[in-house]
């Protein structure tokens, strides 16, 4: 957080709880709210405060709305992925979304793409998605991810970030799914425990659509801390 804004002394984070007594103590009418608010948690309000200005009945988080106060939390991007068991070691490009709404894939099958809008490797939550062409026009042949389907449970995957740190994962599943069967919301989830998903194509090839029928999807979970 690279903000310079002063934090007000009133950074409060409680839930909505009515403490009518506090108001009563300083002379305001101690009647209940006209439109009662069901309190999520009713804090005890037993002791009458000494005469003082009214105090808030709830603690509401308050922050500056200035543009400078906006958090810019860009994760450290991955730069390479390696699978020692298969002799795979690919550089990674951060990628986004194609015009047709599908994930962008680096044209060369010797480069992998990391979905930069999702979790980065090494984060606490969500799935990091890294994909590469199984074969491509630009490479005029097969790429290293053609071997993904040979991965076995427990095989290790290392992802190195731009800052030089490496995050190790162990394969938990390798599946080939017909593309229409894949629930992409689950694959690209930004919630839940962190994991790594490697994706390429497989199945048979539909010449007319110039597309494979399946996606090969490898799921891996962090090893150690």
């Amino acid at each position: 957080m690279s903000t310079t804004h002063r934090r007000r002394e009133t950074a409060r984070t409680l839930g909505l709880a009515l403490v009518v007594a506090a108001l009563a103590a300083c002379g305001s009418t101690p009647e209940p709210p006209v439109d009662p608010v069901p309190a999520a948690s009713s804090a005890p309000a037993e002791q009458p405060a000494p005469a003082a200005p009214p105090t808030p009945v709830v603690d509401v988080p308050v922050r500056s709305s200035s543009l400078a106060a906006l958090e810019a939390s860009a994760p450290v991007p991955p730069v390479s992925v390696s699978v020692p068991a298969l002799g795979i070691d690919l550089p990674i490009d951060p990628v986004g979304v194609q015009d047709d709404g599908q994930m962008e894939i680096p044209p060369l099958a010797e480069r992998a793409g990391w979905y930069r809008f999702g979790a980065a490797p090494g984060q606490q939550e969500g799935t990091s998605v890294i994909a590469a062409h199984v074969d491509s026009v630009a490479s005029a042949g097969l790429g290293p991810f053609a071997r993904l389907k040979d991965l076995a449970q427990g095989d290790l995957v290392d992802v190195t970030l731009e800052d030089g740190t490496t995050h190790r994962y162990a394969v938990t599943s390798v599946v080939a799914l017909a593309k229409p069967e894949v629930t992409w919301d689950d694959i690209f989830t930004r919630e839940g425990g962190h994991r790594l998903t490697l994706i390429t194509c497989g199945g048979s090839f539909q010449r007319e659509a110039r597309s494979y029928t399946d996606n090969v999807i490898v799921t891996a979970e962090p090893v150690g801390g």
């Binding site: 509401v60 922050r63 709305s65 200035s66 979304v97 894939i105 680096p106 194509c201 048979s204 996606n215």
Partner: protein
């Protein structure tokens, strides 16, 4: 003092249409509403009372409070001087805020176009954004005439009046935005770089007073609106197909067919790299 309460910030036509189309909330509990409060009246530290109870103490201009999760219902809000003993003599209000379950609102204390303090309730668009896109909401809550919002030299929003809003869905990225009197290009605010983050509704308020030379920008963000890409098209030739014949022919044909696309592919690659 008379105040105005707007059901949904009578938006410019496009923005309102979007807000209505996208009214189905993606994430919210249907029995609760989310409410944020923005203080956009320069030079006036206030207290905010909700249903007669002090809720925000010494709320300063430019501050954003919340969001609060509130049971659906109507809330009465009064804004007083910061040293008031109660809400019997509000500076703004009291106004009623009808909050529907599952919706996300921002109540804004601000100046009207003529410089009088008022309050508006805006409904925030929390519908899902397309993969790769973010949402930019622009709200005019300043004592100023109608404005255009410029991105570079191009007016992306025209003739936006206090207290209206406009909603844009844009590819994620940074927008160099400036605000100018409508029909002109001389900025009265900015240019400032506004990050349009993927899956986030970034709400930008113009507030303050043109006459008093204290126009400013306030920003609120609502996260978690993202959606997944529609697929992963990660093969082009058929070389990895389980059982195929004549692959050599297919490679040749595919290469020929794609030759024209190669330059395009190369450009896309460059663009991706440039985005890093």
């Amino acid at each position: 003092m008379r105040t105005r309460l707007l059901a949904a910030g009578t938006a410019g036509a496009a923005g309102l249409a979007l807000a209505l189309v996208g009214a189905a909330p993606a994430l919210a509990d249907n029995h609760e509403a989310k409410l944020s409060v923005l203080h956009g009246v320069p030079g006036l530290t206030v207290d905010v009372y909700v249903n007669g109870d002090l809720t925000l103490d010494d709320f300063a201009p430019g501050d954003l409070a919340g969001p609060l999760d509130l049971p659906a219902g109507t809330y009465t809000v009064a804004i007083t001087a910061s040293d008031a003993a109660d809400d019997s003599e509000p500076a703004i209000g009291p106004i009623d805020l009808p909050l529907e379950g599952g919706m996300n609102y921002t109540a804004v204390a601000h100046l009207d176009a003529d410089g009088a303090p008022t309050a508006s309730l805006f409904t925030n668009d929390i519908s899902t954004t397309a993969a790769g896109e973010g949402r930019l909401t622009v709200r005019h809550t300043a004592a100023a005439p109608a404005v255009d919002v410029l991105a570079g030299d191009t007016a992306v929003i025209t003739n936006l009046s206090n207290p209206d809003e406009e909603v844009l869905n844009l590819p994620a990225g940074t927008v160099p935005a400036a605000v100018a009197a409508t029909g002109t290009t001389e900025p009265v605010i900015g240019p400032v770089d506004v990050a349009v983050t993927e899956g986030v509704n970034t709400i930008v308020y113009a507030w303050g007073s043109l006459a008093d030379d204290n126009l400013d920008v306030a920003v609120q963000t609502i996260e978690g609106l993202h959606s997944a890409p529609a697929g992963v098209p990660s093969g082009e030739l058929g070389l990895a197909a389980g059982s195929s014949t004549g692959t050599a022919w297919m490679v040749g044909a595919a290469l020929l067919a794609a030759a024209g696309g190669a330059a395009l592919v190369a450009r896309r690659q460059t663009a991706v790299t440039a985005n890093r």
